[in-house]
């Protein structure tokens, strides 16, 4: 130590290097947003020029009609309901199996029709879509647990069917399970062209 002093060429003190690096590190930590693309995945129907045929009639009880107006109010089967009740109604409709006259005869026949106004808020629309998806997810989960003796819910089945790390036989088994569940509770959501009643 004493020698270097006498020789003239001083060593640069590097002890503050860590502090500087820390500062930079914290800056990047704060500014980094590892943003993932998450959202509600949805499939649109293919475009066709001709208007939909009139004779597609679905038995009234199999159709759950949801209307949303420009004030974000919900009308389900001609009755005013709150947004947070929607999920339970969807589940009741899907899992009715002919019990009540109001809802569907079987899960395979159950259809949900959604019609919104052009003035409906996007936030409300997403909440409705979310409730519908959540309703389907719940009945599928229940069914999945019942056919796998409580070992796998629907999410796990779907994950396993997509997992490339698993061997083929296991994956095929999951795929079959997934198909069976989707066959039992097919997602049939029909979206009508929005109407313009709210004056927007």
């Amino acid at each position: 130590m004493g020698r270097s002093k006498s020789k003239g060429a001083k060593e640069i003190d590097a002890s503050s290097m860590a502090d500087i690096a820390f500062l930079l590190l914290i800056f990047f930590l704060v500014t980094t947003t590892i943003d993932q693309d998450k959202g509600i995945i949805h499939k649109l129907p293919a475009w066709s020029e001709e208007p939909p045929p009139d004779d597609v009639r679905i038995k009234d009880r199999n159709l759950l009609e949801i209307l949303v107006n420009a004030n974000n109010q919900l009308l389900v089967e001609q009755e005013y309901v709150e947004l947070d009740e929607l999920k339970d109604i969807v589940i009741k409709h899907l899992d009715n199996r002919g019990k009540s006259d109001k809802y569907s005869t079987s899960p395979q026949d159950a259809v949900i029709s959604l019609k919104n106004d052009r003035g409906t808020n996007y936030g409300t629309y997403i909440e409705i879509q979310n409730s519908l998806k959540a309703g389907y997810a719940e009945v599928r989960d229940k069914y999945s647990l019942s056919i796998t003796n409580g070992s796998m819910n629907y999410k796990e089945v779907a994950k396993c069917a997509k997992n490339d790390d698993l061997d083929a036989t296991k994956r095929n088994k999951c795929n079959e399970l997934k198909k069976k569940i989707q066959g039992e509770y097919p997602m049939k959501i029909s979206e009508a062209e929005p109407v313009n009643l709210g004056g927007n």
């Binding site: 590097a14 290097m17 860590a18 690096a21 820390f22 930079l24 590190l25 990047f28 930590l29 500014t31 980094t32 590892i34 943003d35 993932q36 693309d37 998450k38 959202g39 509600i40 995945i41 949805h42 499939k43 649109l44 129907p45 293919a46 475009w47 420009a70 919104n116 106004d117 052009r118 003035g119 409906t120 808020n121 996007y122 936030g123 629309y125 997403i126 909440e127 879509q129 979310n130 998806k133 959540a134 997810a137 062209e193 929005p194 313009n196 927007n200």
Partner: protein, 156 residues
């Protein structure tokens, strides 16, 4: 007492060397510098993404086209009516089709099958403009869409 202190002085564990600390920190720093993606698009729209619970994930960024809808940040110049943003500019509903087709052609062939259009829409926007965009997407045959949403924290 004196013997004890002498003993302990000999056997004392050496101080941990902090010489490698800067290196470790630098490594972390480089990691974050590499991972950080600076915002590609200028925020010309004010968008607050809605919250939901039933979320799916898009696995590959290469296969996604983004359409943003929201109110302009600069209300004085552009008004407060909701607008569409494609890439870095304001656009009209008519531009959506060509934009989607162009994005689709830029996707690598291997990922064409999972091409997704992600709609980042402000929750206050009315459905009218969203529906118009959706119809355009149907015409452009981009049927797989994603309503961008954040995870909702559910209080039990």
């Amino acid at each position: 007492m004196s013997r004890f202190s002498k003993d302990s002085g000999k056997k004392e564990t050496p101080a941990i060397s902090t010489a490698s600390l800067p290196d470790i920190i630098f490594m972390l720093l480089f990691f974050f510098m590499v991972v950080t993606v600076m915002r590609e698009t200028n925020p010309i729209l004010k968008i607050k993404i809605p919250q939901a619970t039933e979320l799916g994930k898009i696995e590959l960024k290469e296969s996604v086209a983004y359409i943003l809808i929201g109110t302009p940040t600069d209300i004085n110049t552009y008004g407060s009516a909701p607008r569409i943003q494609l890439n870095d500019q304001y656009a009209e509903v008519d531009d959506v089709q060509s934009f989607v087709k162009k994005s689709y052609s830029e996707v690598p062939d291997a990922y064409k099958g999972i091409f997704t259009v992600s709609l980042k829409v402000d929750e206050e926007v009315t459905m009218g403009i969203v529906t118009d965009v959706k119809q355009e997407l149907r015409k452009a045959d981009a049927l797989k869409i994603n309503y961008a949403a954040n995870r909702k924290v559910v209080e039990e």
